[in-house]
């Protein structure tokens, strides 16, 4: 590969060298490199861009070297930050009940419950912003408003990425896309925001979060309450038999009558099984949602910035 002569060329080579790596990692690496290169250029205004890059290759590193360093670092960080993977269990019951020992399950469970709140917020924000932008577009403040709104969309995209990474364990960007505005006129900059596919996929994600959030929340809460209620039946029955509480029940006679204990115990066992099945479902949904978030919130590595 020949030596890069412009910042854009350097970044392109770095992107190529990182090909196949996690898109989130690529976004972070490109952000760091661009910040460093632009700082170097601003610091030495008398030097030409090509001279500066020749110098940078020896200090900051050539694109391939930088790519290696980031790949290396990523492996180390993942090992240090990630919770240790749960021990692999061979037996079928071990695999079934082992889901409770996986920290990802509990993160996903919390995310499913939180998704309703964040979903409502994202949806409201996106729909309000889009309608106001369109409505105000006939006025002079329409354009600045739309730009401001899209800037908040980008910030929320990064924030949601952090939430997804913390709770679902999917690697998401830690840095935003670098605002590469150098050498562009104002109208080009504004145009870049509107023509960036990433902006629109993020908006789509925000709208999508409402139905997804409702689905996740409802499924999780319903299944959790059913399993907990099932698990509690022997207690309920014992209290009813001892006349501590009075159950005025018409349909499930066995719950009130004294001699249907086996059924109550069976219900309890079914409840425990259902609880663990729910945890499996939650972990699966978490994985699925992580993939959705990554697909819509992280720019694909192949795209040019």
């Amino acid at each position: 590969m020949n030596a890069p002569r412009t910042i854009a060329e350097y970044l392109k080579q770095l992107r190529a060298a990182l090909k196949g790596a996690d898109p989130a990692l690529i976004q972070d690496a490109l952000y760091d490199a661009e910040e460093h290169l632009r700082a170097e250029l601003a610091d030495n205004p008398q030097r030409s861009e090509a001279d500066m890059l020749a110098h940078v290759v020896s200090t900051y590193g050539a694109p391939e070297e930088v790519a290696d360093i980031y790949r290396d670092q990523e492996i180390k960080i993942q090992r240090a930050l990630r919770p240790p993977p749960p021990p692999r269990r061979r037996s079928l019951p071990g695999r079934f009940f082992g889901v409770a020992a996986d920290s990802r399950t509990w993160g996903a469970l919390f995310y499913m419950l939180l998704a309703l709140a964040t979903g409502i917020f994202y949806f409201t924000w996106a729909v309000t912003g889009v309608s106001l932008s369109m409505g105000l577009s006939v006025l002079i403040i329409g354009i600045p408003f739309a730009i401001l709104f899209l800037a908040t969309v980008r910030a929320l995209s990064l924030l949601e990425g952090r939430i997804v990474e913390t709770m679902l364990g999917v690697r998401m960007p830690r840095r935003p896309l670098y605002p590469s505005n150098a050498g562009k006129s104002l109208s080009q900059r504004v145009g870049a925001i509107f023509t960036d596919v990433h902006t629109w996929t993020t908006l789509f994600y925000m709208v999508l979060m409402l139905p997804l959030g409702i689905l996740y929340f409802t499924l999780t809460i319903t299944l959790l309450s059913i399993s907990l209620a099932f698990i509690g039946t022997p207690v309920l029955k014992a209290l009813s038999v001892e006349d501590v509480i009075y159950l005025n029940c018409g349909i499930p006679h066995w719950l009130c009558d004294g001699n249907y204990w086996p059924l109550a115990v069976l219900t309890c066992i079914a409840g425990i099984l259902l609880l663990f099945a729910t945890l499996h479902m939650v972990r699966g949904l978490g994985k699925l949602h992580g993939a959705i978030a990554k697909g819509l919130l992280v720019r694909l590595s192949g795209e040019d910035g």
Binding site: D28, E35, H36, A39, A42, G61, I69, Q73, I77, R174
Partner: protein, 120 residues
């Protein structure tokens, strides 16, 4: 000869892997103002080869990790003349950790020196 230099390179890499976090924390602990990545890289460059055997690009992921661990805090400031810059400063926890690290480093250095000078 070629073989020896690759050994040296590997050893330098291993050394810097352990010390670079300490050095970054110390630089930010001593500085009165928040600093951005390029500034830190330049300051280390002035100190000479020894501090940072590798390339400067290795600094940024480490800075981010220290921030993730709560030892540093950062904010982006748009500048009028240049590009937007991310300024890092040390947190209270960072200062406490730095003190522990400095103690650990001194202890390690003393014992390594003792071995090298044949006192053991």
């Amino acid at each position: 000869m070629e073989d020896n230099s690759s050994h040296l390179k590997k050893f330098q890499k291993e050394l810097s892997a352990g010390t670079v976090s300490l050095v970054l924390l110390a630089v930010l602990g001593r500085s009165r103002q928040p600093m951005y990545g390029y500034q830190i890289a330049k300051r280390l460059e002035d100190m000479g080869e020894g501090v940072l055997a590798g390339k400067q690009s290795a600094l940024y992921p480490v800075l981010r990790n220290l921030e993730g661990a709560g030892l540093l805090a950062s904010e982006v400031e748009p500048s009028i003349s240049g590009p937007p810059r991310r300024y890092y400063r040390i947190t209270k926890q960072g200062r406490e950790v730095l003190r522990d690290w400095v103690d650990a480093w001194s202890a390690t250095r003393d014992s390594v020196d003792a071995v090298l000078q044949g006192e053991v």
